[in-house]
């Protein structure tokens, strides 16, 4: 077993990931990130790829996009639609839960 270490991380939302870091975290080429940003399904749409910055929600979304595309042969628009719908279900369920209404 490794010795127990006390470590301090940084919140991605405080520092934001650049394109290379997001690509590395997802084990994809930076082109994959650029293609998805330009398709409007990831991060902010911009032509200045060098200035792209990504936050926690972008990292989670990129990994889900990748999984859907790989496992279901989905194109980026379809994968994004599935994620948007799933997120909406989660948001509504969280809202119901927050208001104390049980989702049966």
């Amino acid at each position: 077993m490794f010795a127990n270490q006390i470590v301090t991380g940084v919140l991605i939302d405080d520092v934001a990931l650049d394109m290379e870091e997001l690509a590395r975290a997802c084990q994809v080429e930076p082109d994959w990130v650029v293609r998805h940003v330009q398709a409007g399904v990831l991060g902010e749409v911009t032509l200045q790829t060098a200035a792209l910055r990504f936050r926690s929600t972008d990292l989670a979304r990129a990994r889900r996009l990748l999984e859907l595309e790989r496992h279901f042969d989905a194109n980026e628009e379809l994968a994004a639609l599935v994620i948007d719908l799933a997120d909406e279900v989660r948001r509504l369920r969280a809202r119901l839960h927050a208001l104390g209404i049980r989702d049966t």
């Binding site: 991380g9 975290a25 084990q27 989670a60 279901f72 927050a98």
Partner: protein, 300 residues
């Protein structure tokens, strides 16, 4: 280690074609996906299904898995024979699973001769709401390959005490630089990404940085108004209940939610609780109200 039967996980036999595997995976993942499944173990089941498909869905990984697995059954103790993996190379085997354990001693060790940064690791850490209000140190354990010299590596448990910053909200990710997989050929390690998850708390519900809490009040507190002491995640506060309140009324305490960069609000939802009519005196009071108030909520 314990043998995992990936074919059984996907409900297919060992002669399944690549197309059969893909179809079985898609069917299973749709059935157990946490967003649609009511199955109580949906998350764990989905993880198992993904782990099985990551191996069986890749022709080379499947061949290696098949070469090992003949005659074994799920749950049996399993020890791979020496040099079994010499025809396979899986540098990317890094997940916290049975297959990664197998290849900790094999594929990763044959990457000599070039430099490559270690892979990033993705995991989750569960905290309590109080941790988000005050910050905390929480422990996370990971199984990671650890190099033991040229050509040798074993899976080991790595325990980290992680400082959780004040103000984190569900779904945010912490990056721990250099805590990912080891690099190769002298290159640096990857990073560890930890997604923040909150343990369920029967007292509070979360929506981003906003916190919701039910507050039981008596009928007279709701009807007449008054000041009540309410325990909140940041301590007990005195709250003024407006006269004429009903169950479900929301009182907003601005900025008293999770203290993130943009602080959330704390919403107190009033829950009027009737005293039981279980004594002569209580029944007499209810009878007097029925007689004197002439109140019918169905016609109000």
């Amino acid at each position: 280690m314990e043998y995992k039967d990936y074919y059984a996980t996907l409900g297919i036999d060992r002669g399944a074609t690549a197309d059969d595997i893909k179809k079985a995976y898609r069917k299973m993942v749709r059935k157990y996906h946490p967003d649609v499944s009511k199955h109580k173990d949906a998350d764990a089941k989905t993880k198992e299904i993904n782990e099985a498909y990551d191996v069986l869905g890749d022709a080379e990984k499947r061949a290696a898995y098949d070469a090992l697995g003949r005659g074994h059954h799920a749950g049996e103790q399993f020890h791979p024979p020496p040099d079994w993996s010499e025809h396979f190379d899986f540098g990317g085997a890094g997940a916290d699973d049975f297959f990664a354990d197998l290849f900790a001693q094999a594929g990763r060790s044959r990457r000599g001769g070039f430099q490559m940064r270690g892979d990033d690791i993705h995991a989750a850490i569960t905290i309590d709401l109080a941790d988000a209000y005050r910050g905390a140190t929480r422990t996370v354990s990971l199984r990671v390959p650890k190099g033991e010299g040229p050509g040798r590596a074993t899976m080991q448990e790595k325990t980290l005490s992680v400082n959780i910053p004040r103000g984190v909200t569900p779904g945010q990710q912490l990056r721990l630089a250099g805590q990912g997989h080891e690099g190769h050929g002298g290159a640096g390690p990857g990073d560890l990404y930890l997604e923040i998850q909150f343990a369920p708390d029967p007292r509070y519900r979360l929506e981003g940085a906003h916190v919701y809490e039910n507050v039981p009040v008596t009928p007279w507190e709701a009807a007449l108004g008054g000041s009540v002491a309410v325990p909140t995640p940041s301590g007990t506060v005195e709250v003024t209940i407006p006269a004429g309140s009903q169950s479900g009324r929301k009182l907003r305490l601005k900025g008293k939610g999770i203290p993130s960069a943009t602080p959330g609000d704390l919403y107190l939802i009033l829950d009027v609780v009737l005293p039981p009519a279980n004594s002569d005196k209580a029944r007499a009071i209810y009878q007097a109200m029925a007689r004197d108030l002439a109140f019918n909520p169905r016609t109000a």
